[in-house]
Assembly symmetry: C2
Homo-oligomer: 240 residues x 2
DNA sequence: TGCATCTACTGGTATAGACAACTGTACTTA
DNA sequence: TAAGTACAGTTGTCTATACCAGTAGATGCA
């Protein structure tokens, strides 16, 4: 576990070890860690060294401390960030509206060629196509289409999709989400989008495409969201 | 400077003090700090306490360390982030294109009402209106209009604008840029935009508006950029 | 002159110990 | 029963010290 003769710093070995426990799911979000003193004793190292390791993990967002109580595993980071940036739910709530979601399509289809390319699978290989309408106060705001390779993620059901898709995926694959890229562009509504969103064909649309990758660089999903431009703006805040 | 009887932790006092030096410009980007040992001696505190303070500032992006050499003041953070997210220059270069910029308007005008509102000034108060066209490989990609209160920033010239606007502003105001908000939306080209960008009126446009605030919460500028939707997409990457 | 070496400095890692501040639980007391 | 108290355990802060590793400049030699 900890090798004092290694050229790698002790605190760094501890960082990597704990990170591993979290990534392999042996420590789950909300779990408490052994106390700093316990780690120090267990590995026969100084408590300050343990603190250095834990401080790194806290800064990295893996853990959080609670004075007088203990140290705990934090929620997963990317999911947080994805939320922070694109969560329809959060956005709408902050504007005082009531968000909801309606599943309007769930099937396995042969991948359209540009999707197969982005998911790095064979053309026409089977993919889940999950269509949702996002509403705020009951008004349609966006059409969201999610594509996931059916050979990669198995056993998706309408049930799963309605609840925690990410959780199901990470559990099944035992590989964590590593990176997400979002591309925003301006476009005009297609016939299909116009129907679902209750607008004119050709009306301005904000297209947001998110590509999510796993830790081993496998593309996991492509999510295409079409937002009504008259009702939705995308906001980012940068703080010093 | 450092008050050992204060209820505030010593390392925290040191963090705030150094942060103050940087924000007041007494320490400029690239400047070297006294060594950790020197700080420890000067304030009669332990070197580990000094390290704790400096580590915080390093994590916060204010400083960076160089082993065997010293500790230095980092470049300003927001400017970096603004660059990372919206820099036309960076974006175009990464796509292998040659970015350039053409100043097409520089005048002082009475603020349009929505601008005066966002800059928190009187309606019709004078503002600089700076119009630029952004080009890639000589092709117009975006029209960018910047509004800055003329009562806040004085003595702007066409010269200054062509070079380092931010630098000039921070020097003159002695207040740092604190926060920036970006709003992206989809729209269609107005007559003016169509002319400048050489597209049809009504063609899809990606509107990006950036509002920058100073540390004391004064709005500094409003930048409205209109990008050709057929040529420009906005990308964000989230890494774990 | 040019190269190697020495030296004095920097930050990086690690120890062992001390006390403070905070929290939850178990116990005592009115 | 309800409120207060004591205690044990946690993280937070701080000290004094030691040695390692990297860097730059001075020194000395061929």
């Amino acid at each position: 576990m900890i090798d004092k003769t290694s050229p790698l710093p002790i605190y760094y070995q501890l960082v990597e070890w704990i990170k591993g426990l979290i990534e392999r799911g042996e420590l789950k979000p909300g779990d408490s860690l052994p106390s700093e003193r316990e780690y120090a004793e267990r590995f026969s190292i100084s408590r300050m060294t343990v603190r250095q390791a834990i401080t790194e993990l806290v800064n990295g967002g893996y853990l959080y401390r609670q004075k007088g109580v203990g140290t705990f595993v934090a929620e997963k980071k990317i999911e947080q960030q994805l939320m922070g940036l694109t969560s329809f739910t959060e956005d709408m709530k902050s504007r005082g509206m009531e968000p909801s979601s309606k599943l309007v399509g769930f099937e396995i289809v042969p991948a359209p060629s540009y999707i197969s390319h982005q998911l790095n699978i064979m053309e026409h290989a089977p993919v889940y196509e999950i269509k949702r309408i996002r509403l705020a106060d009951g008004i349609p705001m966006a059409l969201e289409k999610t594509y996931i390779s059916a050979n990669l993620v198995k056993g998706l059901t309408e049930e799963t999709v309605q609840h925690s898709l990410y959780h199901h995926i990470e559990n099944q694959l035992a590989i964590k989400i590593e990176e997400a890229t979002q591309v925003l562009e301006s476009s005009v509504a297609t016939q299909q989008e116009a129907e679902y969103l209750n607008i004119q064909k050709g009306a301005p649309i904000l297209l947001i495409q998110r590509n999510t990758k796993l830790a081993d660089d496998t593309p996991l999903e492509v999510v295409k969201s079409s937002y009504r431009a008259d009702r939705y703006k995308f906001m980012i805040t940068l703080k010093r």
